[in-house]
Amino acid sequence: MRTYWVAYQIALQETLQRRSTLIMDRLGGFAVVVSLYAFWTALIGDKASFLGYTRPEMLTYVLALNILRSFVFTGRGWQLVGEISSGKISSYLVRPLSYHGYALALDFAQKTVHVAASIVEVSLLAFLVQGDLFLPSDPATWFLFAVSVLLSSLLFFFLEFAISTFAFWTSESGGPLFCFELFLQFAAGAFFPLDVLPLALRKALEATPFPYMVYFPVRIFLEKVTPLEALRVIGTEALWLVAVFAVAMTIWRRGVASYSAEGG
């Protein structure tokens, strides 16, 4: 465990060392949040609510998106594709550590910095727009939300990992990964609440793991679901995680078995 803790600390320092890149990344993300907020504000207009979301709830949804994007959508897929394609993965395979554990440690270091930055951004935006935020009064909601988000993050990590692992067989796995990430952003509710979609399409998406990464966690936070329903959501999320983890590990084991490298 100490190995992964050290990896986490080093990755944290590396992320903080590249401050200009970090600031620019955050500026770009902030622009997306501002646009989404402006669009939803225009949609609500003078109405008391839109699609069942009041103005504070919608503002909270958009701001929560910024934090969730920073915590959930920061996997190591592209790095894995690069490391397999370049052969750098060989140096990890011969080390006495789990590649997944190592990648998770690096991923959490990145998440730590980005979540901290996103909280500052969200506070700034909330201050600038002077809008009321929806904050749950029940401590249980905060706990359920935290559990749900943690599971979301792991779900994304292993889903992305499973797709990236195809790089063991083809040098072209970047394309499917790009496609998956774009589809995921919409299907997870990372651009808009899925309530806007026609019922049939929403139900179809709810049968996939994607809405469990953003849409359902935010609904838990906004107390749009009862505590019992929240537990059911978390249970389903955990089942998806187990299934995706099993698939990712199976593909990984087969990929490593088929992998060969030459040279130093």
Binding site: S35, L51, E172, C179, L182, F191, P198
Partner: protein, 264 residues
């Protein structure tokens, strides 16, 4: 002059052909990237259509008008991506020493840096965008020809303005060998151009019109077509481009003059 244009046309055609061949070599990867781009386009379109099932107008624009803004954004943005794609690899071109070769070739280094890397997938993607824009146009009422002329000219003006930004980013790469995120900030900020600038608060609207003129690139053409842009703003749009393009060239020349080679 004719001979020079012919030479650059041949260079562009040759590099575009090479890029296409390279992308066709990686069929699965290219298909994934292409599918991802289509998914992004279709999902946003579906989202807008779904939103207008619940509201009549957004910021005073109906569904067809909002779709016009979105399609105009895509046309301008994708045209720029097709022609100025090279800037995305500007930092790598400099740090790996390829820029040194550009400097000794009988071709303007700025042209090589910005225009000689063509993304064939964007050329494929722009076809459905043009078709969808045609469908939007068919649903608009008949408008005076001056509006269409202003639309076309302001679109070209928008592409020229985006060119100036790309030259600026390329110059920064030559000057600093860093700031690889600069082009991605531009991409993220461009996200704000997906919606008509009228949805934003006055301060943001001002920033997007005067500070980083995203509105001039994406919103102005559609507003001119709908007859909602005053002649003064049209004049402003051309004036800002008339200043930005030469200024970006000057900055580029100054950056190249300071360049001392960063390769071995």
């Amino acid at each position: 002059m004719k001979a020079v244009l012919h030479k650059y046309w041949r260079i562009w055609l040759r590099t575009a052909s090479m890029a296409m061949q390279a992308q066709l070599t990686y069929r699965l990867g290219s298909f994934g990237f292409l599918l991802g781009k289509m998914i992004r386009l279709l999902f946003f379109f579906a989202f807008m259509a779904a939103v207008f099932n619940h509201v009549e107008t957004v910021a005073g624009y109906n569904l067809v008008e909002t779709a016009l803004f979105f399609m105009t954004f895509n046309l301008v943005d994708m045209t720029a991506q097709i022609f100025f794609r090279g800037v995305y690899g500007a930092r790598r071109t400099v740090t790996e020493g390829d820029f040194d070769f550009y400097l000794v070739q009988p071709c303007a280094p700025l042209f090589r840096m910005t225009c000689s890397s063509v993304d064939f997938l964007d050329i494929v993607t722009i076809v459905p965008v043009i078709v969808m824009t045609g469908m939007v146009f068919a649903r608009l009422p008949v408008l005076p020809w001056e509006n269409y002329a202003a639309y076309a000219l302001l679109m070209l003006n928008g592409v020229a303005l985006i060119y100036a930004i790309h030259v600026l980013v390329a110059a920064l790469a030559v000057r600093t060998q860093e700031l690889e995120s600069a082009i991605w900030i531009y991409r993220d900020v461009m996200f704000m151009g997906k919606f008509p600038v009228d949805v934003y608060a006055p301060a943001v609207r001002w920033a997007l019109t005067v500070g980083i003129p995203i509105a001039v690139m994406t919103t102005f053409p559609a507003k001119a077509l709908l007859g909602r842009l005053s002649p003064a703003w049209i004049a402003y749009a051309f004036a800002i481009t008339a200043v930005a393009v030469p200024a970006s060239w000057l900055f580029w020349k100054d950056s190249v003059a300071r360049y001392t080679s960063s390769s071995s």
